[in-house]
Symmetry: C2
Subunit: 239 residues, 2 copies
Amino acid sequence: MAEITEVKALVFDVFGTVVDWRTSLIRELETFGTAKGITADWTAFADDWRARYQPAMEEVRSGRRPWTILDVLHRESLESLLTKYGITGLSEAEKDHVNKAWHRLSPWPDTLPGLRRLKTRYLIGTLSNGNVGLLAWMAKYASLPWDVILGAEVARAYKPLPEAYLRTAAILGLEPRQVMLVAAHNDDLAAAAAQGLATAFVARPTEYGPHQTKDFRADRDWDVVADSFTGLADALQCT
Amino acid sequence: MAEITEVKALVFDVFGTVVDWRTSLIRELETFGTAKGITADWTAFADDWRARYQPAMEEVRSGRRPWTILDVLHRESLESLLTKYGITGLSEAEKDHVNKAWHRLSPWPDTLPGLRRLKTRYLIGTLSNGNVGLLAWMAKYASLPWDVILGAEVARAYKPLPEAYLRTAAILGLEPRQVMLVAAHNDDLAAAAAQGLATAFVARPTEYGPHQTKDFRADRDWDVVADSFTGLADALQCT
């Protein structure tokens, strides 16, 4: 296990850990639907969109498809969902606006107070499968105070491939043990720990709403286990 | 010429434009020399170090050498300078500390007040030949409030190659005309303008100390010409 005292940078999973993508996406879709007079089960639409996330990335991870950023994968999924839900006649600009709902996700209530405290002691950044532009505009929208935006696009590897974790540490000029991944997903932490990173689990038991089936609690004895980012700041003695 | 009203992101040259690398480097070297009891002309050492910057990058730009980050180029230059100045017996940790003087550069007096105002209206980021780790730790050291750290390492091209500018805009999901380069160097701005970026010149007439030979003023009618970052904030109506 990594020694927490050696940690110099905290890198965060974003979707689910930092932001409440599901509630935000449903809100964005409902607002769009109301404005355009389009009726649909937007909650099911949001869940369906997220369900296509892992299969789309797997095409890239497996090497069957060349490197493709998440904004593009999201857009392709959106096209097929519009067909599935019988929504027609949207302009390119409207589709682009809907696709960028992923840039307008709201943080969990403890996210900003926690990040501000953690930033006083650590370099804080993203380690997300979101592309840099998506994450940068989301940060601007939600006032997320990142020191650096890293992840799949910079590492040129989608999590949980080892390179996503190892290259992120290397880009910061750090050893893996000097970097702690903060995530609400046990499988993400397991992949990071396998590469020598320190680990912190923060429970987000409502991420998937009524469809949540896992990650209610820590599966393993991670370096830190907390129920919020402010709890993480407490555990890491960031005042 | 780009329409300034379309600009959504400001990206900054860093060495010389944002930070006073020369004064900072001389200070770091003198502090190190005093602590270790090493006498040398540290001002000449600093100027010599910077003089090796463009030739080292040119090896990569020309394709004669595979992609190499600036921290590594700096370190190679340092090794040859230590030999030139007859400084021997430094440990790897000491050399690493000296090399990371480039991570501990101080901003010009107007930098932080200006960036804070510009950040309220624009996404602000780096477009530097420095690598991401160097720029992230420098930002942490100097409290530079970047929204995103971009540049040569992410674009995989050193300025003034066209790809450095074009890929930076593309990563942000923006057209070149929606991105403004802020720089104290007319040649950097010329290369950006050739790719369709908006341009702002901020004069840094003491960057090279007594050795400054150019860039005392704007060579062309850039979209904005200012004498400080706060002057730039005034020109862009950022209160």
